[in-house]
């Protein structure tokens, strides 16, 4: 039972790292980016290629996956996304679906449609006993890593100069420009970091949830849930939503295998009906 909870928390942490970039672009900047998963997938495939073709060790792949996807994100933001911030939601939806389709087809073409296997090193595959509960070392690593990243993000958003500039830019881009904030640069850095984290998440998650070209579609709704159910006022809401989703999903699969997916969909719809601003949003501002 506690093992399920533990696995759920690890899964939730992973979902948060995968989705936290979206929490900023969608939650704060109000850009409906359905293609967020494509960046996560890119991170996953970077890892696969580095490990299989170049023999780079798994742990060394993680920062590389982050950097590669962040660069990809920065490029996409400058050339494509930046033009669409002020467009209608329908345009943003169409555009990002287009990106999803292109990425699926491109990865299919380059890497084939089969499931990719990411071999994690032997010392991460074991289990250890903590307080009488058997937990996987790899999941422990994920919780630790994601936990640190989460704290770092919270701190960066809340207490750094960059964080306050970002909040100002999101609030009122024109006013922020007037204050001398380079809004374009802030957005591109934010987008890059968000994409990079998604890429890192993609690399970490390949072993747990698998990796194939349909990844961006399969997890699209999960990412959206984390953001909309979590609410858009900060990162705490999405984090709680991700943990809730992770635990529910894992528990659902173990305990009621026939109903797992249904529970998530129904709960999501119910929450959106009752709290359109998100479960953890603060009041009606």
């Amino acid at each position: 039972m506690l093992t399920i909870l533990f696995d759920g928390v690890a899964y939730g942490m992973l979902l948060f790292i995968l989705a936290c970039g979206l929490a900023v672009t969608l939650g704060l900047m109000n850009f409906v980016n359905l293609a967020h998963g494509a960046f996560a997938m890119a991170g996953g495939y970077v890892t696969v290629v580095l490990m299989q073709r170049f023999g780079v060790p798994f742990l060394a792949c993680l920062p590389l996956a982050f950097v590669a996807t962040a660069l990809l994100g920065a490029l996409a933001e400058r050339t494509l996304y930046a033009r669409l911030y002020s467009r209608s939601h329908l345009d943003q939806v169409l555009f990002s679906i287009g990106i999803v389709f292109m990425s699926i087809a491109a990865v299919d073409f380059l890497m084939g449609s089969q499931q990719q296997i990411v071999q994690i090193p032997a010392f991460l595959r074991g289990r250890v006993e903590i307080l009488g509960v058997g937990v996987g070392v790899y999941r422990l690593l994920i919780i630790g890593l994601c936990g640190v990243l989460t704290l770092l993000l919270q701190w960066a958003l809340a207490s750094t100069r960059f964080g306050s500039q970002l909040r100002a830019a999101v609030d009122d881009a024109r006013a922020a420009r007037g204050l001398g904030i380079e809004v374009g640069r802030i957005f591109v850095v934010t987008f890059a970091v968000g994409s990079g984290l998604a890429g890192l998440g993609g690399a970490l998650s390949a072993e747990i949830v698998g990796l194939d070209p349909t990844f961006p579609l399969k997890f699209m709704l999960y990412f959206l849930i984390v953001v909309t159910v979590g609410g858009t006022s900060g990162l705490t809401g999405p984090l709680l939503a991700a943990l809730l989703l992770g635990v529910t999903d894992v528990a659902g699969k173990y305990l009621v295998p026939g109903l797992g997916a249904f529970i998530i969909y129904f709960v999501m719809i119910a929450i959106l009906m009752l709290r359109p601003q998100g479960l953890f949003a603060r009041g009606s501002a």
Binding site: V93, L94, F95, G98, M102, L224, Y265, M273, P276
Partner: protein, 347 residues
């Protein structure tokens, strides 16, 4: 393609009637909007003509007619009521499975199947419409997507009824109204789908040009003002969402009956996304967008699949990205400008 663009051209002035002389009587102005235009007659004449002129393309034409009906139903909610849906395939799938199961279990008369499929999809549409009344575009996207996923999962789990991933095999519909047998060339199928499409199109055309249709356009335009004129927006949205679900359900039933097969694929996200793409190719909010888009989309898909069969998805994605970057309105204008120039040169 060419009559598609003239249709676009004919529909454009209704959005910008600045050229209308001030002396036009108001009555004539309002009634004139619902009057049949030459390009419309031409469109349907071509559609019927294809039945005789292109005997070896009936299977493809049938596919176009059904996709056209499905997209028309999305246009009713997106183009006229402004509701963005990412899960319209749910109703297509419900209709498709309803017709398939009905045929398989003894009720093989197709028209009966259509009615039953439409009714079932409509009932589900009615119930789920209450979920999209509140919230923003984003919550509606998620809720429609969620509903579609629930039905996808349902069809997957109930594999002893639906056949699961293998699909429902051996769907053999009887002759339509006991008179017209389906043939392997798709001739009956195309005639049947086209007839159903035409009847439902006429109904939709009447509805959008009615006071009810006007109130939908008003709701899409400015819901605050609509409310302050006394319009109960919730009821209108429930009504049009239900209607769109019925249409989509009937499109699904046509698909099952004319292809004699239905599988999980019909509930895929790609189906909902296809419909959105088809609709934006053809243009929203003038009813022909779905039909014109279906022609263009199917021909495009047919052509591109012939070159690179596996990577059709890539071209579709690229098309969407370019379409949005160039601007949907501007794209239509440019194509129209090019055609106008081409026609001008010929003259």
């Amino acid at each position: 393609m060419s009559d598609a663009s003239t249709l676009n051209g004919a529909a454009a002035p209704s959005g910008t009637p600045s050229g209308t002389p001030a002396s036009t009587a108001p009555r004539d102005f309002l009634i004139g909007k619902s009057r049949w235009k030459p390009a419309e007659f031409a469109f349907w004449a071509v559609a019927v003509g294809a039945l005789f002129a292109l005997p070896d393309r009936h299977l493809l034409l049938n596919e176009i007619a059904i996709l056209g009906l499905f997209t028309l139903s999305l246009d009713l909610i997106l183009g006229f009521a402004g509701i963005v849906s990412l899960g319209h395939a749910a109703f297509l799938g419900i209709g498709a499975y309803a017709a398939g199961l009905l045929t398989k279990h003894g009720v093989s008369e197709p028209l009966t199947g259509l009615l039953a499929a439409g009714a079932l999809a409509g009932a589900v549409g009615f119930l789920s419409s209450f979920l999209i009344l509140r919230g923003t575009d984003l919550t509606r996207l998620m809720v429609t997507l969620g509903v579609a996923l629930i039905f996808h999962e349902l069809a997957n789990r109930l594999d002893w009824i639906t056949g699961g991933a293998d699909g429902l095999l051996g769907v053999a519909p009887g002759p339509i109204a006991g008179l017209f047998e389906f043939d392997i060339f798709g001739t009956t199928a195309y005639a049947y789908s086209l007839a159903v499409l035409f009847v439902l199109f006429l109904l939709a055309r009447r509805i959008v040009h009615s006071p009810f249709g006007l109130s939908l356009r008003a709701l899409k335009d400015n819901r605050l003002r609509a409310g302050s004129l006394g319009i109960a927006s919730a009821r209108r949205i429930v009504a049009v969402y239900t209607l769109a679900a019925v249409y989509a359900g009937i499109a699904g039933a046509l698909l099952t009956q004319t292809t004699q097969f239905v599988s999980l694929e019909i509930l895929d996200f790609a189906r909902s996304a296809d419909a959105l793409l088809v609709l934006v190719i053809g243009g929203t909010g003038y009813l022909y967008g779905g039909l014109v888009g279906a022609v263009a989309f199917t021909l495009l898909k047919d052509g591109l699949s012939a070159i690179t069969p596996a990577y059709w998805l890539f071209w579709m994605g690229l098309f969407l990205v370019v379409l949005v970057l160039v601007g949907r309105d501007r794209m239509v204008e440019r194509v129209r400008g090019l055609l106008a120039r081409a026609v001008g040169r010929r003259a």
